[in-house]
């Protein structure tokens, strides 16, 4: 199965394509001659300019979803194109809430499997080969489809670097979703946005994360203060998210965000494999943990064996003194 045409799911937030979509487009350029995108919502004309800049030639616009969750209508629109013979050879989707819904729906509609949690994608022998990080990223598994396409790939954030190609704005063609009946009955009736100060966790150059070693909820203030002094974002291990100390949006790891900052500071985090997969590709890692044998030190460039309640306040004071 040769791969000539790839479609990328163009998820949009705050009027612009999300970074993971741009990462996937950048990689798709290396793998196929034609890269197109599937988008929806109102901003598609302006979004098409950005998508074009990264190498997309055509945007298939499903249009306004009328409050429906994207999973069903977007998958129906893609499936319709595939059965009309206009579909792609491969579809790349960001592993987001909506990306996962679209992939699952599409898979069942087309009766094609999905390769999930993909962290690398290469061309080989006329097809695509995926890489998956397993066992906390200590091993890399490669896989490929063995049957006719289109192949469906769900890809984790930060698997590739997004780089513009300087392309012209993509042309927009309407790709309305066929009626999907009962499957499309769920409706969004209200949206709630949580307040956030400082950069986004998955875009920050510095991420300071706290874990159970902080001892109690109030101590998370140390993490927030340090993050703010370093103009970074505050993250967390799942242990303290599950304990209700911080919202889920702070979680780093297998079931949380993947981050790749210039510096990741892990404070009172043991370094469980499920945490490591979300941060071990950070450019530099600093860990503070009182246990010299904590697994987090195996990935740290700088490890401080010490008590977070002693090291963090001093670090904060020293940074404040520097101004």
């Amino acid at each position: 199965m040769s791969v000539d045409k790839i479609w990328v799911l163009a998820e949009v937030a705050d009027g612009a394509p999300i970074t993971t979509t741009l990462e996937l487009i950048t990689q798709a350029r290396q793998l196929a001659g034609t890269v197109e995108a599937v988008a929806w919502g109102e901003a598609t004309e302006s979004v098409a300019a950005t998508l074009g800049e990264y190498g997309v030639t055509t945007v298939h616009d499903v249009g306004d979803l009328g409050g429906a969750l994207p999973g069903v209508p977007i998958a129906s629109a893609i499936a319709a194109a595939v059965s009309a013979g206009n579909g792609p050879d491969a579809i790349l989707l960001p592993a987001t809430y909506d990306g996962r819904d679209v992939a699952g729906r599409l898979s069942a509609k087309l009766d094609r499997p999905v390769l999930t949690n993909v962290v690398g994608l290469t061309a080989d022998d006329g097809g695509l080969v995926t890489q998956h990080a397993i066992f906390g990223g200590s091993q890399v598994l490669s896989a490929r489809f063995t049957a006719e396409g289109p192949g469906i790939y769900l890809i984790r954030a930060k698997s590739f670097a997004a780089e513009p190609s300087g392309g012209a704005p993509a042309s927009v063609v309407a790709a309305p979703a066929p009626d999907s009946g009962a499957t499309n009955a769920a409706r969004i009736i209200a949206r709630h946005v949580e307040e956030r100060t400082g950069p986004k966790l998955d875009e920050a150059a510095v991420v300071v994360s706290g874990g159970r070693g902080l001892g109690e909820k109030d101590q998370y203030a140390l993490i927030e203060e340090l993050a703010s002094l370093l103009k970074g974002a505050a993250g967390a291990s799942r242990a303290i998210v599950d304990a209700g100390w911080v919202p889920y949006s702070h979680q780093v790891g297998q079931t949380g965000k993947t981050v790749k900052p210039t510096v990741y500071l892990a404070c009172g985090i043991s370094g469980a494999t499920q945490h490591l997969v979300g941060m071990k590709n950070s450019k530099n890692i600093v860990a503070i943990n009182k246990d010299a044998d904590a697994p987090i030190f195996s990935v740290a460039d700088l490890g401080i064996v010490g008590d977070v309640h002693k090291v963090l306040p001093k670090l904060i004071e020293a940074l404040k003194a520097k101004g």
Partner: protein, 259 residues
Amino acid sequence: MNVVVCVKQIPDPAAPPALDAGTKNLVRAGKLILDDSDAYGVEMALQLADAAGGGEVTLVSMAPNGETSGLRTALAMGAARAILVSDDLLAGTDALGTAKVLAAAIKRAEPDLILAATESSDGYTGTTPVQIAELLGLPSVTFAKKVEITGTSVKVERQTEAGYDEVESPLPVLVTVTAGVVEPRYPSFKGIMAAKSKPVEILTVADLGLDAGQVGSAGARQRITQVADAEARAAGELVVDEGEGHQRVIEFLEQLKVL
């Protein structure tokens, strides 16, 4: 109200995982336990059935070797009965194949609501539940952090990148729940005793009327080509804090021009 909860029985996550050298499938020998991620769905189902003034909670699981230990845990929490699909033909089944099997089993229970976890702890593809919904022709709402039934519809707070959405859907519907949606109860001694005599129906692929070619490694249509060690990070510097550890952190950040 009839609720079906998909519960996966998995190898103990505390034990080091391994891949079979030949098939490269995850080794699933030995005792399986209830996936922690599914304990939330079980608890949610019990609470919703209670709130609706009754109804039955049925567990549906696919697992090798007629394994029921994980199901017994969920029955001990309070579920009424279980359907287990177990068949040697199922070895190597991928997520879509799993969805076909579970969808066929779920149909038998005629549920108003189907609950599953957003993703399992061992395979964590996170696609199976939505594939099930599509195969059953049902709507789905994923990543629920709160679930309420009001008459003939469900209201869900669905996790989003920015916060959460309130989503409404008519029943029947499939909902996936995140960890923390409710606090799972511990099975009581009475519950554990009662679970021993609760009905567990064990079915094969043929019982479900599925074609053997759709499941197992034959149906998977994907293949692992290689497993290799990842590039290890070079060992770093370890400093024992004797009051000046923070200084070393500052030097390091300055070196990186973060300061």
